[in-house]
């Protein structure tokens, strides 16, 4: 089985499991007391956000290793991770407002977490714009690595400023379901969803990586 095929199977499995998670979320997980059914979207929203973050962190790590090892496979992985990360960031940015409208009464608010996802989205889009603007392969890989590393540092900084100086940052307006206060049933559904999203991420990246490899090979032949 080629990597692309493996990736496709992972994605198909992931999607089926996602369906399962949602059946569980809708039918077998209690409705949240304050937010009502709107809270169900969190089983997509939160795992997607975490996966986006993971995608960016791996992007930066791949960058660091690329600068030392100069292995084009690392660059291909970074490219794939960035694209998949953008998709997940879009999911976060769409599901966030859908939830926010009934709960916060507004589509968008400059809440710290929402804003930091927007940052991730901009960073990932900028990363791909840069890739599109550098024709030479090795230069593109090097520039991408530099930008990826900077992006991770920035993301770290955003978190640092949210957590180290919490009083300085705009507070969430309405209660947020934070993990410790989550009832066991909900937590389990959320964790299952995490697993599924991780599977989807791996599956998508494998397929995208296979495309990148084929592109690089078509240069040779």
């Amino acid at each position: 089985m080629t990597m692309a095929q493996k990736g496709r199977w992972l994605v198909v499995t992931g999607l089926v499991l996602l369906g399962g998670v949602y059946v569980r979320a809708l039918a077998f997980t209690p409705v949240e007391r304050f937010q009502g059914p709107a809270q169900k979207i969190f089983y997509v929203h939160v795992p997607a956000a975490v996966t986006t973050e993971l995608a960016v962190i791996l992007l930066g790590l791949a960058g660091v290793f690329y600068l030392f090892l100069k292995d084009p496979r690392l660059d291909r992985f970074a490219e794939s991770s960035a694209e998949v990360g953008t998709v997940f960031a879009s999911i976060v940015l769409t599901t966030g407002p859908i939830w926010g409208k009934p709960i916060w009464g507004t589509w968008w608010t400059w809440d710290a977490r929402l804003t930091s996802t927007l940052f991730l989205f901009f960073l990932l889009v900028g990363y791909q714009v840069l890739r599109g603007a550098v024709p030479d392969g090795s230069l593109r890989a090097r520039y991408s690595a530099v930008l990826g590393i900077c992006a991770v540092v920035l993301v770290g900084f955003i978190h640092l400023s949210v957590y180290l100086f919490p009083t300085l940052h705009p507070q969430p307006i309405v209660l947020k379901p934070s993990k410790p206060s989550l009832p066991g049933e909900m937590l389990l559904t959320l964790l299952l969803s995490f697993g599924v999203f991780l599977l989807l991420y791996v599956g998508f990246v494998m397929q995208r990586y296979a495309i990148a490899t084929r592109r690089a090979e078509s240069f040779h032949g």
Binding site: P72, D136, G137, A216, F219, H220
Partner: protein, 230 residues
């Protein structure tokens, strides 16, 4: 003074071969002329020698390192809004020429190139030929022992090209080694002590000049190019 061993380099993930097993060495007083069509990898070779590109395989070494290299290309590497003299002082400082010596060095180099009366003019106001002379002054300011010349004749009219050849002839010897890369055999053959034809990254011929005349070298080059293409 200059060693290259098994240099290989390719661009675009191996699609464009710029250096294919290039080896040579050059002693003081020698001038290697590298002839080849555009895209044969001449500039890449010079950039490898200058330490600007790290080759994917093989190694190159210049006695004395970066400080010993002077570069003359078809681009002057001078700042248009600075005067010739200011440019020279800037580059002298970068190359670590002691502050006290910089002024005298600049004056001396400008005199050797007959540019004393142009010293205070901004570079943008100079003609192509004068800019090229200023570029040579820039390349000589730190008294390099190895000169790398990349298509130095491009854009010069016949008179200016002849003048440049005379200048380069004067620079040979005195413990200096020159590497001259050009696509035009007629422009460089008479300066050479060693001759190489570079085609698709490879030195297809590399030999001492051994008394060959310019016309003979030009003829051999044409045959070599025709041979690779056909």
């Amino acid at each position: 003074m200059l060693w290259a061993e098994g240099l290989r380099h390719a661009f675009n993930q191996g699609r464009v071969v710029a250096l294919d097993d290039v080896s040579f060495n050059l002693a003081a007083g020698q001038t290697l002329a590298i002839f080849g069509p555009n895209g044969a990898g001449k500039t890449t070779l010079l950039k490898v020698l200058a330490g600007l590109i790290r080759p994917q395989a093989g190694s190159a070494r210049v006695a004395g390192g970066r400080r010993a290299i002077g570069w003359i290309g078809h681009q002057s590497q001078l700042y248009g809004h600075l005067s010739v003299r200011e440019n020279l002082l800037f580059w002298a400082s970068l190359y670590g020429v002691p502050r006290a010596e910089r002024g005298a060095r600049a004056t001396d180099v400008l005199a050797r190139l007959g540019m004393t009366d142009r010293a205070e003019q901004p570079v943008w106001s100079l003609s192509r030929g004068l800019v090229q002379r200023a570029a040579i002054a820039k390349a000589l300011i730190h008294e390099p022992r190895v000169l790398l010349l990349d298509e130095p004749f491009t854009g010069l009219d016949l008179g200016a090209a002849a003048e440049l050849r005379a200048l380069l002839a004067a620079l040979r010897g005195a413990g200096r080694a020159l590497v001259l890369a050009t696509h035009n055999v007629d422009e460089g053959a008479e300066l050479a002590t060693d001759v190489a034809f570079q085609l698709r990254g490879r030195f297809v011929q590399y030999a001492p000049r051994a008394g060959r005349g310019s016309a003979e070298i030009a003829e051999a080059y044409r045959r070599a190019v025709a041979g690779t293409n056909g």
